[in-house]
Structures are given as C-alpha cells and as structure tokens.
C-alpha cells in the first residue's frame, strides 16, 4: 500500500516536468474519464449496429446478410478467444526457469546495451 502512495506522490510531483503531450493525456488517469470513454464506446457500438440496416449489402456469403453479423461475430469470438486462452493457460503455464535456469525469460537484459534514463533526470 505504501508503495502505491509513493508512486502517486511521484506522479503529482512530476506532472509539471512531464512532456507536454504526456500532460495532455493525463486526463486518462481519472476514473470518470475512463467511464465516459466506455460509454462512448457503447454508444458507438449501438450506432454501428443500427447503421447496418441503412445501406444495401453486397456480400460474398449469405451469413453476411444477417443484420449485425460482424458485430455479434466479433464480440463472441473475442470472448471465446479469451475464455479458451484462459482455460488452456491452466495446463500450459510454467515457471520462467522451466526450460533452463538461465533462459531469456528469466535473465535481465544486459544493461550496457540499454539507455535507461529516468524522465526527470
């Protein structure tokens, strides 16, 4: 918990130093903005679904004539994808050192090949 509050303090101190573009994006931090964005997404989805009735379709397959086919198909395949992936993870998940004690998973990236710079320095 203390770790988290420390990060939050860091953030507030740093705000002035952040790049201008980053500061502009800070509104994404607020829970209310995220909620609003989600409502926008719901509205966009609803609108797109309705739009499907408003134009003449020219398709390759009969199934494409079903109103909202792409919407329903996209939604349910994505849910199925995540559900199945979550299920297979139970069987496939192993420790990072499973294959060898020194594997690229477990070892650090050599620091001399990086240029780690903290933003405020």
């Amino acid at each position: 918990m203390s770790e988290k509050t420390k990060t939050e303090m860091d953030v507030t101190q740093d705000i002035a130093k952040l790049p201008a573009l980053g500061r502009r994006l800070m509104f994404l931090d607020k829970r209310s903005t995220v909620d609003r964005l989600v409502y926008v997404l719901y509205a966009a989805c609803a609108l797109l679904f309705v739009l499907d009735f408003l134009y003449k379709k020219k398709t390759y397959f009969e199934i494409e004539y079903v109103p909202g086919f792409y919407a329903v198909y996209g939604f349910f395949t994505c849910v199925a994808l995540v559900v199945c992936a979550k299920a297979i993870r139970v069987f496939l998940k192993r420790d990072e050192t499973y294959y060898a004690p020194k594997d690229v998973e477990g070892e650090d990236y050599p620091a001399d090949q990086l240029e780690k710079v903290r933003h405020d320095t």
């Binding site: 390759y60 994505c78 294959y99 060898a100």
Partner: protein, 566 residues
C-alpha cells in the same frame, strides 16, 4: 546481360566489407542507411527479365531475376533495411551492423534468385547472418536460443538443397519456378519453405528467437526471414490447396497463445505468425486477386510489424523489459512512442485509413470470391483477434493498465524518427492504397473503401473492443504473469532431451552390464595365467630353454624354405 549490373545483394555485401574499413561512428551508421537506398534505387529502375547469368560448377545460375513479384518484395526489403538501420543508429556493435547488412542482402538475393542453387545460397545466408542479431545480446539464454534458431534455419536450407538436387534429377532443370506438390523433391522444397514460413508445428523458432534478440535486432529479424518464405511459397506453390488449410490454422492458433503471453515481443511474434497465415491462405487460393493480396499484405505487414517491434523495443531500451507484468503507465513520459504504437496497432487490426485495411481485405475478398466459407470465417476471427491483442493488449499493458511507477524518458530521436517514418508509411498505404496496388504483381481493380466494407469492419473492431472492455471491467481478462507457456517447442526442448537422457541411461547400463560380464571372464583368465605363468607360478620355476631352441629351429627352417622358394 549488361556486364556493369551487379546483383542487388552484392551491394549489401560490398557495404558490409566497406563497413569493416570505416571507423566506428556516424560514418558507419550513415553507410548503413545509404546501402538500402542505393539498392532500392537499383531495384526500382531495373527492367524485368533474367538480367545476369553465371556459369559455375557446370550449372547455369541466374542470380538476378526481376519481375513484378520479386520487385515488390525486393523493394519492401530495402525499405525495411533502411528503417531498421535508422532505428539502430545508436548501435556501435560491429557484429550487429554487419549482420544486419548481410541479412538484408541475403534476403534480397534470395528474392531475386532465378534458380534453386542461388536461392539455397542466399537462403542459408539469411540463416547465418541473422543468428548474430540474437547472439549479440550476449547472454547465456540468448546463446542457447541462437543455437536452436541456427539449427532449425540451417536445417531448412539443407532440406532445400536436398530438394533442389532431387528436382534436378527429376526434371533436369534447376529453375526456381511454379511446382506441383507430389514428388519427394517438391515436398522437400515445400517443407524447407514451410519451416521458414513458420507453418504450424514448425513455428516455434519464431516465438523463441524474436524475443531473445537485441532491441534493434528484433526489428530487423521481423522483416526478412518469414516474408522471404512467403515470397518463395508464392513463387513455387501458388494455388496449392493444401496451403489454404495450413494458412487458416496458422492464422488461428497463435492468437490463443498471444492472449496469455507475458513478453510483449513474444505476443508480437505470435501475431506475426498469425498474419503469415493470411498470406499463406492467399497463396493457397492462388488467384490473381489472392496473390496480389499476399504481396500487398506482406508489404504492409513488414511495415506495421516493424513499427510495433520498434515501439516495444523503445520501451525495452528505456526500461530494460518488455514484460506486460512489469510495464504500465508509460504514456505519461513516452507519449510519442504510444502514438506510434497505436498507429501500428491500428494498421495490424485493419482499421480503415490504415495499411492493414487495404491489404488484408484483398485476401478476405479472394477467399469470398472462391467461396471458402469456413476459411473466411476463421480469417475474420483471426482479424478480430489481432485487434484484440495487438490493437488493445500491447498499447494497454505497456502504456496504460496499472501504473508501474516507471518514468522512462521518451525514446531517442533517431528511434522516434524511424517510428514516425514507418507510421507515416502505414497511414500512407491506408489512405492511398492505389500506390501500393500499382506495385503488385497483377493488375487487379480493387476498391477497399466501400460503404459496406467500412461499416462492417468498424463493427467487427468496435465490438471486439467492447468484448475486451467488458472482460477487463468484470476482471475476467487473464492478468499478465511472469511465466512461460508450453508450446510445441516443448517436444524438442524438454521431451526429446528426456527421451535421449533415458536412452543414454538404458544403453549405458546395458553396455556396462555386457562389458562387465566380459571383464569378469577376462579377469578370471588373466588370474589363471598369472597363477601358472606369473613370477610365483609353477611355469616360472624352470627356464623354458628347450622350447626356445625348438622355436628357433622352426624359425630357421621357415626362413630357409622362403629363401629357397623365392
């Protein structure tokens, strides 16, 4: 043939030699940019045809076959080499610099190869040059990964050579041309291409090696090997129906792994595999529209994949990790990288006005034209999945999600420049698709921006986003965990060593038992002889002078007879 024409690949080789002479620094980095530009100019201006023929080892080699198919791949490889080298402007590691040049040159050489022997030589060239981009990480894990990578890649080359030899025996030709699957020769060649193209069950080298390479190495790796294989398949096996099913499997299965994978570079590697599936389906359908789709999608995907690997690489360059579990909240300090990442993500997810939309839809339409219902459904699924994963997962877990407290500086200028250029190209292809279509092998009229296509595509994408949002908010989306997931490489990284270990134990115990028995008998015999003939033995009590005399007499007799006879 014009004698002054140098095959494009040799420009890269010459560049690599010159690179060794130049001092390390900006001059070298500039040379790394200059070579692809010169090469691209050459490819752009060359006329079509077999421009060079060489006689070697009694074979007619054609190292420079230019036509519409090889030109588009040659151009994108030059472009990828330029962008990758710009991204790697800061690298001062001679090995990586030379490897990058030779690797790009080999890929281009293979694309322009008009015969199987030239193809084989450059094919192996890509394998050997590229492994140094993995080893350049200089860790134990990367060394072992590089070894596995090299074995598989060189193995693919050996298969290709074997196939070429059989093909020559069968047909008397070595031309790299359209083939039909059937004979052992064509199967060997097909399999060699399939390994590099990361066919299902032959794919693990890709997910194994790309996350292990250096920050800049992965960007360069992502462009060449697999697209070279796509080119080779399009050249050799267009219209092979089997490829449609292989491609659909390839498009589908990797995305499941991408959901649970933690290392964002490996997520991208799985998605790259899935994108290759689309191209392979296009080759399998084999109509002009489909092959155009494959070429266009290869072109577009080289760019957006490079862009995505660049952005994740930039994050890694600044934070030291590409793991979703350790990242998050970087948008504050790396906003430009975030924007480029979103552009790459929009391109791979085929958002209208981005490159994937104008290239992938060619393949989907071709599948529709040919009435492959199930294949088409799978491709649409894979399309939605690609958006869910690279469109949402990568930007979300790297730049948003839970704040990791990391406040890295924005990526260095040359990286931003490389990412910006690539992003501009991705948008350019999306907005002006006709420019790309003009480069394609066949002349096909295609209009991606129809009302129906745009609306249905937006439906697919927005409802996939809705699925992600709902799952995330309900807390059902699987969290990013520090782990590895078993894939088919388990067979050769775990099971095979186990089996070999067991066999070694079994053989050594049988051998031990057998030799043990023999040794006991031998020991007993030696003991018995020692007992009678040893210094304390009965036979040692008297000097065997008599027997010595007898033996000398026999020897003398033999010598006499031999002398007499000769």
């Amino acid at each position: 043939m014009t004698p002054e024409l140098v095959p494009t690949a040799f420009l890269f080789v010459a560049g690599a030699i010159l690179l060794g002479i130049l001092p390390q620094g900006r001059l070298r980095a500039a040379l790394l940019l200059l070579v692809p530009v010169l090469a691209a100019l050459q490819v752009w201006t060359l006329p079509a045809g077999n421009l060079v023929s060489v006689q070697a080892f009694g074979l007619d080699l054609e190292p420079m076959r230019v036509d519409n198919l090889s030109r588009v791949f040659g151009l994108i490889f030059c472009l990828a080499a330029f962008l990758g080298n710009l991204y790697a402007w800061h690298v001062r590691d001679t090995i990586q610099q030379i490897a990058a040049l030779i690797y790009a040159g080999s890929a281009i050489g293979a694309v322009f190869a008009g015969d199987l022997i030239t193809l084989f030589l450059w094919w192996e060239g890509t394998a050997i040059a590229s492994v140094f981009l993995i080893w350049a990480r200089r860790t134990e894990g990367a060394y072992h990964t590089g070894m596995r990578y090299l074995m598989i890649q060189v193995g693919s080359g050996v298969l290709l050579l074997a196939g070429a030899a059989l093909y020559h025996q069968e047909t008397g030709r070595l031309t790299f041309e359209a083939m039909t699957l059937g004979s052992p020769a064509t199967w060997a060649i097909f399999l060699a291409f399939g390994i590099k193209c990361a066919f299902p069950l032959l794919h693990n080298w890709l997910q194994d090696s790309y996350p292990a390479a250096t920050v800049t190495g992965t960007v360069i790796l992502s462009a060449f090997t697999t697209k070279l294989a796509v080119y080779a398949l399009a050249r050799g096996f267009a219209g092979t129906e089997f490829l449609i099913y292989i491609g659909a499997t390839m498009a589908l299965f990797p995305i499941f792994y991408a959901v649970i994978e933690n290392d964002l570079r490996r997520v991208l590697a799985y998605l790259l595999n899935s994108q290759l599936g689309f191209m392979v389906v296009g080759i399998g359908i084999g109509t002009e529209l489909a092959l155009n789709g494959t070429a266009a999608h290869a072109f577009a995907s080289v760019l957006y994949k490079a862009l995505l690997f660049m952005t994740v690489g930039a994050v890694m360059f600044r934070t030291g990790t590409a793991k979703g579990s350790e990242l998050g909240g970087l948008y504050r300090t790396m906003p430009l990288t975030l924007i480029f990442c979103v552009v790459g993500a929009a391109s791979i997810s085929s958002f209208p006005l981005f490159s994937g939309f104008t290239s992938k839809s060619l393949i989907l339409s071709a599948a529709g034209h040919a009435q492959y219902n199930w294949i088409w459904l799978i491709l649409v699924f894979a399309s939605a999945g690609a958006f869910l994963l690279s469109g949402i997962k990568i930007p979300y877990f790297a730049f948003f999600a839970q704040d990791s407290g990391k406040r890295p500086k924005e990526a260095p200028t040359h990286m931003l420049l490389a990412m910006g250029l690539t992003a501009a190209l991705c948008i350019g292809i999306g907005v002006f698709p006709d420019r790309l279509y003009a480069l394609l092998p066949y002349e096909v009229e295609y209009h991606p921006y129809t009302t129906g296509h745009v609306i249905t595509q937006f439906q697919l994408l927005f409802f996939s986003a809705l699925a992600f949002t709902v799952l995330m908010r309900k807390g059902y989306y699987p969290p990013q965990l520090n782990s590895v997931n078993l894939d088919f490489d388990w067979t050769y990284r775990k099971a095979l060593p186990l089996v070999i270990g067991w066999l070694r134990w079994a053989i050594s115990s049988i051998w031990g038992a057998a030799t043990g028995l023999g040794l006991t008998a031998l020991n007993a015999l030696v003991l018995r002889i020692y007992h009678s003939h040893g210094p304390e033995g009965r036979m040692a009590h008297v000097w065997p002078t008599g027997s010595m005399v007898l033996w000398i007499a026999i020897l003398l007799g033999v010598v006499l007879i031999v002398n007499f006879a000769s």
